[in-house]
Each structure stands twice: as structure tokens, then as C-alpha cells.
């Protein structure tokens, strides 16, 4: 199948949407499809062979912050040319309600169009003002995908109708095997955490309290932390002798991130809410890390009601300490959880996710013919 993917945000700036499109494109290519991605990018940016640059994105105020977006008649004509040259069987736009390339693509194209909504955005009054403009471009979409329940709710609230839920994928292969960081996990055992330390929803402070309880009785136990943010507030109450056993790596590279998951005996996800899917949890599962996670709806679902990882009452540091302590004492339980996690994460593996996406393509293609370009 010839697939045209549209990325609304600059390709070489890190972001969840860009990463999703990259993984989807590469997986579809592996599955034997012909894929072309159009994305805002400078003409001299080094890009993978399947990405066509649509010119530089312009910083412009939108929804209360400055976003880099590609809009205007020049971008539209680049999209048109790409559509004409591509001869696609299906056009797959991402984040179509953002004022960028995806919306332009919906405007100039006709035929089978699939759209994926990534973020849950509360319906704004500004969007209401632009409703007729959005509506006429978006009503051409024949298949809609949401990556999370929250994104689906947003989509239904904004535009009515329904959407298929296909969760974000995890490139399991990239996480399966890696060497632990030198000296980890160490003879005394190690707990792990990944995420922003100063964002309360990530629950880092809860983990620090739990670690203090455990570390007081376990002289060699250490805590490995990867992620940016300010840790001062969370660590303010921590006694100095325990403070030395909390190792902060800061922001790590993708390769080191994989090694972090392999460097700990128990990976902790103490989030207090706001996680629509829990990509960090899925990555830890792909790496086969034994997991202790908050009992959030999303986490319970990903961890198969606790079969693929221990759940503790959200926000309760003592329960987290107890659960992590039990796992540290039982290597055979850890091995069992690790195997369960590796098996459970399979359904989020990109080849599986991409196959579901292809099913959506197949559902819209016969009805709508080929992708054509409208005279605009």
C-alpha cells in the first residue's frame, strides 16, 4: 500500500508525535508498504529517506504559547506537490486540529483520509470561533484514530462521531536487550525511576519517602533516577547518608534510557494521575523490568490487573515501600513478573500496533478510491 503520512511539527525537534510517526513509518516500511512522510523541516536538515521537507515552521502565538507551525499558501502548495507525486492509496494525517500541515493536507486532498489524534485538549472558545473553518477540512476524514481514551473523548467532544482507540506503540526490540550501567544494580539492590522529578503527577516525592523507609533497613540499597527537573524539593527532607544512595543521572540519551531499565531490580512508577497511557511503564515492561506501579486505571490495564507488575494504592509511600521490599526479597517473584511483563507488552509492540493501523487503512480505502488533489 502507498501511504502518505503528515507530521504537523518540525521533524528534528524531539516530541511524542514525531516519534510516533517515525516508528509508524519505519514499521510500515518493514511490513512492506511504501511510505512517504511530509514534515516541516529546513531544506538542509538531514532527514531519513522517507521524509520530504515542507519548509521551515514559523514560530507563532497559538493557544497561549508560541508554537512552531507550518501554514500558508506556500506550505499548502508543497503539500499539493507531495500528494501529486506520491500517488497515495491512503493519506494519514496526525493531529489534524493543529493549524499546521495536517490541516492543510485535509484541505487540499480528497479520497481516503485517516487521522490520528494524540493530545487531549480541552475545547477552547478560540476553536469555537474557527469551527466552520475546521469543520469543512476535517469532515473529509473517513477514519479517525485516538491514541488514548482522553484523546478520544476530546475528539468526540470537538467533532462528534467516534474514533478507534489504537494505543501508542513501543519499539519493543529497542528495549529488550541492553547492558546495565557499570556497577548497577549492585549487591544491595536498586530501585529505578524515570521521569520529571519536579512534576508532582510523576510521584517522585512518594518514591523518595518509600526509599527512605526501605534504605534505613537495607544498607546497600540504592535508587537510580533518570529524567530532568529540579530534585531539591523532593530531597530536602532526606537525611544526608541516604541522599548519597540516590543517584541522579539527569536527562539521558535514548540508549542510556534503555540501560537504566536494565540496571535496576525494581522499577517504580509512582504516578498520581494524568497518565493516559504510561509510555514509560510500557518501555520498562519491554525491557523486562520487575515493576511496582500506582493503581491507576491506565496502569492497571497495561499491567493486566497486576499480573505483569505489582500495584500499590496511589500516593501511599508506605505501601510502595512494602511492595518494593517484597520484590527485593524474592528473586523468583521478580523473574516471574519480568517474564509476564515481556509477554504483556507484546500487544503494544509497533508491528502489532501498525497492523491495527493498516486495518483502518483497509477499511477506508475501498469506499473512497485513491487520494487526489483538489484545485485550491
Amino acid at each position: 500500500m502507498r501511504v502518505g503520512l503528515v507530521c504537523p511539527y518540525t521533524w528534528d525537534v524531539p516530541g511524542g508525535v514525531q516519534e510516533h510517526i517515525m516508528n509508524l513509518a519505519e514499521t510500515l516500511i518493514d511490513l512492506g508498504h511504501q511510505v512517504s512522510v511530509i514534515s516541516p523541516a529546513d531544506d538542509d536538515t538531514p532527514l531519513p529517506g522517507y521524509v520530504v521537507p515542507a519548509g521551515r515552521a514559523v514560530p507563532v502565538p497559538y493557544n497561549g504559547s508560541v508554537a512552531r507551525l507550518a501554514f500558508g499558501f506556500l506550505s499548502a502548495s508543497r503539500v499539493k506537490r507531495w500528494l501529486k507525486e506520491g500517488g497515495f492509496d491512503v493519506l494519514h494525517v496526525h493531529e489534524p486540529a493543529a493549524p499546521s500541515l495536517s490541516l492543510l493536507a485535509c484541505w487540499v486532498a480528497d479520497g481516503p483520509i485517516v487521522a490520528t489524534v494524540h493530545t487531549a485538549i480541552p475545547r477552547s472558545r478560540a476553536m469555537h470561533a474557527a469551527e466552520p473553518i475546521l469543520q469543512s477540512a476535517l469532515e473529509k476524514i473517513s477514519g479517525r484514530i485516538a491514541v488514548s481514551e482522553a484523546a478520544r473523548t476530546t475528539l468526540v467532544e470537538h467533532f462528534g462521531g467516534d474514533a478507534v482507540l489504537i494505543p501508542n506503540g513501543v519499539p519493543v526490540k529497542k528495549f529488550e536487550k541492553a547492558d546495565p550501567l557499570p556497577g548497577w544494580p549492585g549487591p544491595g539492590g536498586a530501585l529505578g525511576f524515570l521521569g520529571r522529578m519536579d512534576e508532582p503527577r510523576k510521584g517522585f516525592t512518594i518514591l523518595v519517602r518509600a526509599f527512605e523507609m526501605l534504605a534505613a533497613q537495607r544498607p546497600g540499597l540504592r535508587l537510580l533516577v533518570a529524567g530532568h527537573g529540579d530534585a531539591d524539593e523532593a530531597l530536602a527532607r532526606t537525611p544526608a547518608e541516604l541522599r548519597d544512595r540516590i543517584v541522579l543521572l539527569g536527562q539521558v540519551s535514548d540508549a542510556d534510557k534503555v540501560r537504566v531499565y536494565h540496571s535496576v531490580d525494581v522499577f517504580c512508577a509512582p504516578n498520581t494521575g494524568g497518565e493516559s497511557f504510561g509510555i514509560v511503564l510500557a518501555e520498562a515492561m519491554a525491557a523486562g523490568a520487575p515493576i511496582v506501579a500506582s493503581d491507576l486505571d491506565a496502569f492497571r490495564q497495561v499491567l493486566r490487573r497486576g499480573q505483569a507488575g505489582e500495584l500499590f494504592p496511589t500516593g501511599n509511600a508506605a505501601e510502595l515501600a512494602a511492595a518494593a521490599g517484597r520484590l527485593l526479597d524474592q528473586p523468583e517473584r521478580r523473574a516471574a513478573l519480568s517474564a509476564e511483563a515481556s509477554a504483556a507488552v507484546r500487544i503494544y509492540d509497533w508491528p502489532i500496533v501498525a497492523r491495527d493501523v493498516v486495518r483502518v487503512y483497509e477499511a477506508v480505502v475501498p469506499a473512497a478510491g485513491r487520494v487526489s488533489v483538489l484545485p485550491r
Binding site: V60, Y62, G64, F71, F73, A76, S100, A126, A130, A137
Partner: protein
């Protein structure tokens, strides 16, 4: 006897002087209010025409959405100022993520500046004007928007002149000593970006903002 007459005359002259100063301050405040009203009219007109352009179908939907949302935010700020009795002292316009951006003392300044920046991004595209050549109604709408932007530029300049004059008059010791301004709040300058050409680009040296250089 002669001393008493001198005292009476001096007091009379002082009284006349003070009442003249109070009258002048009053006229300055009235002028300020008139200029503020003119500025409000200009801002409302600019956002209305921007909104009209956004929904005209002349532009692509991405540009329209950007413009509509910027114009809408400006309109909301204008409305909330009206509700607050036009004191220009309302709390900062709510921003969901204030990363690296500070709320001005006046919640209207940021959305109006954002509208200017959005207009600049739209009109700053190379060949923008010629891309709409021959399109029905495009010329009228663009000229109207250009005119509205000029009015904002001028109205703001004249309003800030009035603010400067009023503030200077109120700083004099006599006015402060006798509280001639009463309880009226000290007027604030209205600081926004209103030039449609970025600094250092085409149009440098010209004082008036032009849409297409």
C-alpha cells in the same frame, strides 16, 4: 491694614492658580479618557477585521485557524476589560502555560501583541499579497485590515502621549500636596507590539506599519 490686603490678594491669586491647575488636570484626564476610548475602538475594529479575514475563506484553514484564535483571544481580553469598568487594571489574562512569557500589568496587552505577531506571521510570508491577486474581495479586506492596523498604531501613540502628559502633571508637588487628582488611579501606558513589519525588516525608517512592506 495694608498687610491684610496683601495676604488677601496673595490668597486670592493662589486660589485662582490652584483652581487653574486643577482644571488643567481635569482636562488632561478627560483627554486621556477620550484617547483611551479611541484606542479601544481601534483595537476592537482590528480584531473584528482579522476575524472577518479568518472566516472569509480567502486563506487556507491553518492560517485561518491561527488568525481566528489570535483575534478571538484579543476580543475576549477587550470584553473582560469592558466588564471591569474600563479601569485597565484587571488581572493578567489567563494563560495555560506561561512558559517564558510574563503577563503584562494589563491583561489586554499580551493578547493584542499576540494578534500583531500572528498578523505579522501571516502577512510576512513571501509573496503573500500577490498570492491573493484577483481573488474576489481580497483587496478590500486586506486594505481594511491595513487601515485598522494603522488606526491601532496611531491611537496607541496618542493615548500614550496623553498618559505621559497626565503623569507629568500629576507628579508636580502642588498637585500631590493638595491631592488635586483625587482618587483617580495613575494612568498606565499601553505597551504592545503593533508594528506589522518586524524591526530591521522592510519598512524600516517608516513610522507607520504596513502590511506588505
Amino acid at each position: 491694614m495694608i498687610d491684610a490686603i496683601i495676604v488677601v490678594v496673595v490668597v486670592a491669586i493662589l486660589g485662582v492658580y490652584v483652581s487653574w491647575r486643577a482644571g488643567r488636570l481635569d482636562r488632561l484626564h478627560a483627554r486621556l479618557e477620550a484617547r483611551r476610548a479611541a484606542l479601544d475602538v481601534a483595537l476592537v475594529r482590528r480584531s473584528s477585521v482579522a476575524l472577518e479575514l479568518a472566516s472569509s475563506g480567502l486563506l487556507d484553514p491553518a492560517t485561518s485557524l491561527l488568525l481566528a484564535s489570535a483575534a478571538h483571544d484579543a476580543r475576549s481580553a477587550q470584553n473582560s476589560r469592558e466588564w471591569q469598568g474600563g479601569q485597565g487594571q484587571e488581572a493578567g489574562h489567563g494563560r495555560e502555560d506561561g512558559q517564558g512569557r510574563e503577563d503584562g500589568k494589563n491583561g489586554q496587552e499580551l493578547p493584542e501583541s499576540d494578534l500583531t505577531r500572528a498578523l505579522r506571521a501571516v502577512f510576512g510570508q513571501p509573496g503573500f499579497r500577490s498570492s491573493l491577486d484577483g481573488t474576489d474581495g481580497a483587496d478590500e479586506l486586506l486594505s481594511e485590515l491595513e487601515g485598522a492596523a494603522h488606526q491601532v498604531f496611531l491611537a496607541r501613540k496618542f493615548y500614550n502621549d496623553a498618559v505621559a502628559a497626565t503623569r507629568a502633571a500629576r507628579r508636580t508637588p502642588l498637585v500631590r500636596l493638595l491631592r488635586l487628582a483625587g482618587g483617580a488611579p495613575l494612568p498606565e501606558f499601553f505597551e504592545i507590539e503593533d508594528s506589522l513589519v518586524g524591526t530591521g525588516e522592510a519598512g524600516q525608517g517608516a513610522d507607520m506599519p504596513h502590511l506588505t512592506g
